[in-house]
Symmetry: C2
Subunit: 430 residues, 2 copies
């Protein structure tokens, strides 16, 4: 008698099989019990008819509580009325453990309580669906880049230099030296791109920002492609193909999950290249028309991003930002050096920035000047300057925050639900 | 005229194309120059005949130094004498940047010097090959587990509890609380396995160990599968299939890289299930026969592992370790509770441990006792104990160190070469 997973039930119709899982929910009426059994791959209805099983099997069914673990044997039946389309006609039922007073009852709980029980909350259908979408987003990212000839080259997490000031960095003692948790693998990516042409890194990144918004986590995952000889135009085309591939792959592979999340997928169907583009100056006009007071040179906040993104049915690129509100390494526009060849990609439906990217400065003297202007510790950047000394070439790259993309695709407001164990301000348990 | 990558040359025979890259090496004899051009995907020989190009193109060729960046246009020719089998008959050549005094000359350098220039060293053929193998190992890990229905569920890096003592942990301030960089995602994996059945996490892990051996890094990547309802036997079978898949996938996909590394692949061809198994007690006998003085209950060090692994032509499992030399969460053997259902997998050819795995304790009272015996802070483990309160089931998992596997497959002694930017004792630059 094979042990099978719920997701395989369709291949075992009319066969006797064993499923090992947990009780998700149940109902009964006299001589018949309906057990909803989850095993991590899906939920199947196991049906116990009192006349057809030994008394103790029926008794076991009655004893089962929510999240009790069980091993159930029976015949798979196709039944269109059953949730999922298949059910199991029970012959035998073993209790592994009775769960007493499972804390997450099928009723409303506060978010604080659920976060405190995140290790159990993961078992609920909704969280389950979100994290399956997350896994598919990550798989799609890798598949796309691998297919396009990008090589995975991992960037280090422990870094010596504080790229953009230390105020938002987690610091640790590294055998007597100060080290910081990486906020981005980009600088290392640039070294790798000069060796391998097209590369990406993908790992956790950290930001010790004392902010408590729905769009920030202290620990989040970022995928960062970087390519030698890529112009700003090449970069934008890569970004729109990449994002479209990811969205369409989730729409195709995660129908059931998106249905559980009650996600209207029609806006997602729009996500196909090309994406609209506006310059920073055009964005400023739009914001002014909507009564926002913002000056040329200011960066946009979450509210501005939302407002801009609402004007378009697809993700929109905002390009050519003022140099002064962007990072030191971004390439100035040769036609107008006060703006840089950088773009943010804003997701629609209020989700805002999901990607930031730019062409990088490849001229040694200019990069040295920018490092000095930004009061960065020159010594820590010597290796990075070497990339402009030895065969420097134009190159470009971007970083995409996984959690923001998952939140957008799932239609979920708060990032805390789209990572298995969120790290937020004052939240590091479990 | 298409821009192409060297790896695509075979598809453009007799066509005019442009390749953008760097000068790897060159030689010339009078009227002819042979430029070895690398672009990250491979190396192609670009041939300049003086009579067939404008004088300035030939002049450019002469000016090029090692690692200068260039854009070269010409016709692809199949030529079995050329390295790689194709060459480019040059029509035009643009210099992007002349690299002056590239520090890594084609001669022997000390390891310290090379590590200091790791950002450039990555460009050399050998490092290139190693990191391509690394990317393939990681891809194979994910492909295998995805195909087998394991779901990627990321474990957090910042963790509150110090699982196995704080002496080897990197610590950071988390808004007034102490937090530690994760040494393993396992405990979180166990929560995820109870939600999703079969899961894995894959990310960087950290060990602040003041040791300077060829087999340790402070920051390394680990892949950790965990499965509900998996017995110790299921686990071992998963491990041998997983490792065999990875090795055979690299042998098939990275022929060229393994050739550059002069790796004898015949020992790798052996890596097919089943793997031999010996118990800890049998291992002790072997060690005693070889004159090692080691007592029952002691853990094995690198030397012992090497000696044991040398006895077998394939990776070998050592099973049933004394409970006292293993972690608190490991399931005792029901037939002999002083040993645990744990195994280490030792790679042959002197590479030693690549995997550690075990069945986990699923009984609440036993786990509570083990936490107390190990003087662990009970409070930090309450959520972990919850997994034994609410539908506890037998479950098993393992962790595999990516760098150790890459080193073994590449036939490289020291882990510092198998990660792009190694973090070692007193080495955190670049």
């Amino acid at each position: 008698m094979p042990n099978i997973y719920v997701s395989e039930a369709s291949a075992y119709v009319d066969q006797e099989t064993t499923i090992r899982g947990w009780l998700y929910n149940k109902r009964s009426s006299g001589k018949i019990q309906f057990l909803l059994v989850r095993d991590g791959t899906g939920i199947i209805q196991a049906v116990i008819f009192k006349p057809e099983v030994p008394a103790e099997v029926f008794q076991h069914g009655e004893e089962l509580t929510q999240e009790s673990s069980l091993v159930v044997t029976g015949t798979v039946r196709k039944d269109d009325r059953a949730p999922g389309g298949y059910e199991l006609l029970v012959k035998d039922l073993q209790i592994v453990q009775i769960a007493q007073d499972y804390p997450i009852a099928p009723k409303e709980h506060g978010v604080g309580f659920l976060m405190e029980h995140r290790h159990l909350w993961l078992r609920s259908s909704r969280q389950h669906a979100v994290l399956r979408v997350r896994a598919q987003v990550i798989k799609a990212c890798r598949d796309y880049l691998d297919q396009q000839g990008f090589l995975l080259v991992d960037a280090p997490i422990l870094t010596p230099a504080a790229c953009e000031g230390t105020s938002t960095l987690f610091e640790t003692d590294y055998f007597g030296e100060k080290a910081y948790l990486s906020q981005s693998g980009q600088l290392y990516n640039e070294a790798a791109a000069m060796a391998f042409g097209k590369v990406y890194c993908f790992g956790p990144t950290f930001r010790a920002e004392k902010s408590k918004t729905r769009r920030h986590l202290m620990e989040f995952w970022m995928i960062e492609p970087e390519a030698a000889y890529y112009t700003f135009e090449d970069l934008i085309q890569l970004e729109e193909s990449f994002v479209s591939y990811i969205v369409q792959s989730v729409v195709a592979q995660c129908r059931e999950e998106l249905a559980i999340l009650e996600r209207d997928t029609s806006p997602l169907a729009n996500v196909q290249p090309p994406f609209p583009r506006i310059t920073y100056d055009q964005a400023l006009d739009i914001l002014h028309q909507h009564g926002k007071e913002i000056n040329w040179g200011d960066d946009f906040g979450g509210d501005e991003e939302t407002l801009l993104a609402e004007q378009f049915p697809k993700p929109v690129f905002v390009t050519h930002y003022p140099a002064r509100c962007k990072a030191f390494y971004m390439q100035p526009d040769p036609d107008r050096p006060q703006v840089v060849l950088a773009s943010d990609l804003l997701a629609p439906e209020g989700y805002g920035e999901i990607i930031g990217g730019s062409q990088r400065i490849h001229d040694l003297a200019l990069l040295e000047r920018r490092i000095a202007e930004n009061n960065l510790p020159r010594e820590a950047f010597e290796w990075y300057l070497d990339l402009r000394r030895y065969g420097s070439v134009p190159h470009s790259g971007f970083g995409m925050g996984i959690e923001r993309v998952v939140a957008w695709i799932c239609g979920i407001d708060h990032l805390r639900e789209v990572i298995p164990f969120p790290r937020m301000l004052y939240r590091i348990y479990p």
